[in-house]
């Protein structure tokens, strides 16, 4: 026979019954009420931000449409760079899990095929999650991007610069594609590296006239296109973050409210039982004294 260790926190006060005492229930009730307030506030903030992000995303999508389909997957033996787009902050539902899971799947497939790959993380949640198994493959990453507002073209261009500076063959951009308030799709877009784009562009764009700095056109074109594409990708990821956080906080608020109602009922019953017990004691005591 062994006795289980009861920590100080949950040790029941002397004289209490098997279930929680009234005081504990009251504490729990106030905690749940606070949580409910916080999640409701986060829900409202996310809803307001979502509006802003959706508008920015619509413009970004049209912006990127002009240059869509001009990137090509380069033929190369060089390593593939996996770039998952995640958030910095948490409490945002399943967006990061979805992206990280897809990144892991791709990296394991590459490993099984014996192909070289590297990892470049966007956002703290990918960095933290994928570090456990893929730290040695990490070549860099981006943190603290956006600052709560939709990403600007200048910021997206800086991210483009950081990615283009890496030495890789093709890169897989893994992000969530916003469909509507409750739905998003985890997609992968493959782009070549700057070097490979320039060396293979002549051939791929043979039918095109070139108007630009002799020799520099395709490099500039690549940089611009990557900035444009990332502007769309990051705006998309950020919109999904807000919609997912809104849904998650909405669910949490409902759960908290439900829990609060149940516990309130329990607390009231407990209180009434106590009063009834006292009344009965007084009544039977008075009856005994009368005799």
């Amino acid at each position: 026979m062994y006795t289980s260790r009861i920590t100080k926190a949950c040790r029941k006060p002397f004289g209490s019954r098997g279930f929680a005492s009234e005081k504990e229930l009251r504490n729990r009730l106030s905690t749940i009420k606070n949580i409910s307030k916080v999640t409701k506030a986060m829900n409202m903030v996310a809803a307001a931000k979502l509006r802003k992000h959706q508008d920015a995303l619509a413009i970004a999508k049209t912006f990127a449409a002009g240059l869509d389909g001009l990137f090509f997957e380069a033929e190369t033996e060089k390593p593939t760079m996996v770039i998952p787009f995640s958030t910095d902050k948490g409490l945002c539902g399943g967006v990061n899990t979805a992206v990280n899971r897809e990144a892991k799947t791709q990296m394991m497939q590459l490993e099984n095929k014996g192909e070289e790959f590297m990892l470049f993380t966007y956002g703290g949640k990918s960095k933290g999650n994928l570090r456990r198994n893929f730290e040695r493959k990490m070549v860099g990453g981006i943190l603290d991007c956006g600052g709560g507002n939709p990403v600007t073209f200048a910021e997206a261009s800086e991210v483009a610069e950081a990615i283009a500076a890496q030495d890789f063959g093709n890169a897989n951009l893994i992000f969530n594609d916003f469909i509507n308030l409750i739905t998003y799709d985890t997609v992968t877009v493959t782009i070549p590296s700057s070097e490979l784009f320039e060396s293979q562009a002549e051939e791929k764009f043979m039918a095109y006239e070139e108007e630009g700095d002799e020799g520099g056109l395709f490099k500039n074109f690549y940089e611009f296109m990557l900035g444009v594409k990332l502007y769309y990708v990051i705006n998309n990821a950020q919109t999904c973050e807000q919609s997912s956080r809104m849904t998650a906080m909405d669910n949490s608020s409902s759960n908290a409210d439900e829990m609060y109602d149940k516990l309130l009922l329990q607390a009231n019953r407990l209180r009434q039982a106590k009063i009834t017990k006292e009344l009965m004691e007084i009544t039977s005591g008075a009856a005994a004294v009368q005799q």
Binding site: A58, I59, A60, T62, F63, A65, G66, L67, L70, T152, F153, A156, S157, E202, E203, F205, M206, A207, Y208, E209, E210, E211, G212, D213, E214, G215, G216, L217, K219, N220, F221, E223, F224, M225, V228, Y231
Partner: protein
Amino acid sequence: FNFAVLPKRKGVRSMFRATRILRRALRAEGAAGATSDGLLFRFNTPSSSIITEETVKMVLVPAVSGDFGILAGHVPVIAQLKPGVVSVHKTDSDVKHYFVSGGFAVVREDATASVTAAEAVEVSELDPAAVKAGITTYTNEIASAKTDEEKTNAEIGLEVHQAMEYAISLTSN
């Protein structure tokens, strides 16, 4: 954006260029996507979708190698743009002038065209006084620049303001 200018690569490049010139001589007018009513055109910036998708008559774009016009059935082009005016001729009478800071104009093989610019404003919205002040400021900055980077940035500023001044004069007539 600081665009790099790489040294010319001979050999393979000149072969491709010759091939393109030959093809241009052989190419017939009218590719798949060109309609008889005009050119399918897109004109967008990161901050606004100026033209999502419209059929226009002609577009004039300021490429680094010289201004050129795009009509329906134009050969495929990838053109880097310098700060200047994009003129959208929807019809012969409906013409709008936009000043762009830079970007790319692409005419695809299906003969749709797009201008993707970092920033674009209607020339009528440019403030002539502010432009003049900018020219003075940047001219001074070039003179007083200490590092190569400062000088280049000031030169870019001057080029953009001079282009704006030219754009205002062009469209005020």
